[in-house]
């Protein structure tokens, strides 16, 4: 499997390297498209499925200071219910009096049900390059995979949810930091690239629908599953901003905004990406 991915990546690099000047863009696009196809041809080649399995085991195992499993965790559709819940997140949880995305909700359950220390869990929540996704992320991958094939149907119609979507919209367009970047700097127009990497136009529902449901996704370039919280953290890193806190209102607001834009899009998590 690793060989397959490496071959596909080598194919991409080779195409990029030999491409001549005039028809350069078209050839480059063709090369990238071929790479994407190779990634999609064999869905079972996706190493992210192993993390979903690991997440399922973690979800069902008695753990933490209280030595219980997460099977009483209510992700929005009742205690322990996992099927289809990701398709309806983020949502407002009255008990927590908060809008939460999937990962923030799992964090909440790990703290409240299993007795884990929240500060410890959010200290280093994301894996480094080459390291596997952490336990919380593996569980998020598992839960998201149980909505794979469904369409995003988060209602986001409660006042608290609407406020989060509106806040996410503001944050998406807020420019700051030494580079003056906002999310919109890269994701507010169609068909643009950084280097050879295509940039989804996330303000547009048609493009948001295509990509938001892919996360958590296995990223070949970093050889691990990256969750949506991690993806946003990575964007802010690139924007020269400080480390985005896991489960912060800003992270949930952005996820709510993106999910709203992606409403009706198909969930294919964990997807396999470049």
């Amino acid at each position: 499997m690793k060989n397959f991915l490496q071959t596909a990546f080598a194919a991409l690099c080779a195409v990029a390297a030999v491409t001549a000047a005039p028809a350069q863009d078209a050839d480059t696009e063709k090369g990238i498209e071929r790479y994407r196809q190779m990634l999609k041809e064999d869905p079972w080649s996706n190493p992210g499925l192993l993390d979903a399995d690991r997440g399922e085991a973690l979800w069902k195992t008695t753990r933490g200071p209280k030595n219980v499993s997460l099977e009483t965790c209510d992700l929005g559709k009742g205690a322990g219910k996992v099927d289809g819940v990701f398709a309806e997140l983020p949502r407002f949880f009255a008990g927590a009096n908060q809008v939460m995305d999937l990962e923030t909700r799992i964090l909440w359950c790990m703290e409240k049900i299993q007795g884990f220390n929240r500060a410890d869990l959010i200290k280093r929540p994301h894996p480094g390059g080459g390291q596997p996704v952490k336990e919380l992320g593996a569980m998020a991958t598992y839960v998201a995979s149980k909505s794979s094939g469904m369409k995003y149907a988060a209602r986001l119609d409660k006042p608290q949810e609407k406020a989060m979507v509106a806040l996410g919209d503001e944050l998406f367009h807020r420019r700051s930091g030494p580079f003056d970047f906002s999310c919109a700097t890269c994701h507010a127009a169609e068909g643009l690239r950084i280097r050879l990497q295509g940039l989804p136009y996330l303000e547009s529902p048609s493009e948001a629908k295509k990509v938001i449901g892919e996360w958590p996704a296995y990223r070949v370039s970093s050889t691990h599953v990256m969750t949506m919280q991690h993806r946003l953290y990575d964007c802010y890193w690139q924007m020269r901003m400080p480390e985005l806190q896991f489960g912060s209102d800003a992270s949930v607001a952005l996820i709510a905004y993106l999910t709203k834009n992606a409403e009706g899009g198909e969930i294919s998590a964990p997807a396999l990406k470049r």
């Binding site: 919109a184 127009a189 901003m241 480390e243």
Partner: protein
């Protein structure tokens, strides 16, 4: 360049404007500030300015990069006044160093401290510059033959310096970082980038 910038800017802005018009509930700016301040608790104290947009960024964010004429004029005037020029009046450095900094995306990320190399301009992330480099982005216009197309005129050399130093002096709410004004690059590095664009022997102008 101004035309190109303006054209791509206009296309972008019309799209952004449409999205802006659809926007419903206004969000209290104080709430946005508080949310941002709470989102980055690990920020070193000297990073606090990164969390807060300055006056120009506040105006650009509020208008979704589509300021009205009066605001745009005020932004361009303010940003132009903040440009520092080389002491010796020479805008052209070494294009080879310019090419290296155009390739270099290192610097100013939280993982880049303490710095292990010089900060780059990362021009290729958004611009086509040479034919040899096929891995270029398209967020900004192609800069192939930039100097040649402008007959290497001294006024164009100065304008290129000003755009790199502070893009908002030429186009309010441009997407391009203010490399000089925000202290991303030094004046000498900006001169090297100008050389890459404006030297007749640069690969940008030799069709390489």
């Amino acid at each position: 360049m101004k035309k190109l910038l303006a054209l791509s800017g206009a296309a972008l802005l019309s799209v952004v404007a449409a999205a802006y018009a659809q926007q419903k509930a206004a969000v209290d700016p104080a709430k946005v500030d508080a949310t941002v301040n709470a989102a980055f608790p690990a920020a070193p104290s000297d990073w606090a300015p990164r969390l807060t947009p300055d006056e120009t960024m506040r105006q650009c964010s509020q208008t979704r990069n589509k300021p009205d004429k009066k605001t745009a004029d005020a932004i361009e005037k303010r940003e132009k006044a903040a440009i520092e020029y080389p002491a010796d009046g020479n805008f052209i450095g070494d294009w080879k160093k310019g090419e290296a900094l155009a390739q270099n995306g290192y610097g100013l990320r939280f993982s880049d401290y303490p710095p292990r190399r010089t900060t780059g301009g990362n021009c290729y992330a958004c611009h086509q510059l040479t034919k040899k480099e096929v891995s270029y982005g398209t967020l900004g216009p192609s800069l192939l033959e930039y100097g040649k197309l402008r007959d290497y005129k001294p006024a164009a050399v100065k304008a290129a310096y000003e755009k790199i130093y502070n893009s908002h002096a030429a186009l309010a709410c441009s997407n391009m970082p203010r490399f000089g004004a925000n202290k991303i690059l030094t004046i000498d590095q900006i001169k090297d980038a100008v050389a890459l664009l404006m030297s007749p022997d640069s690969p940008v102008n030799k069709g390489q």
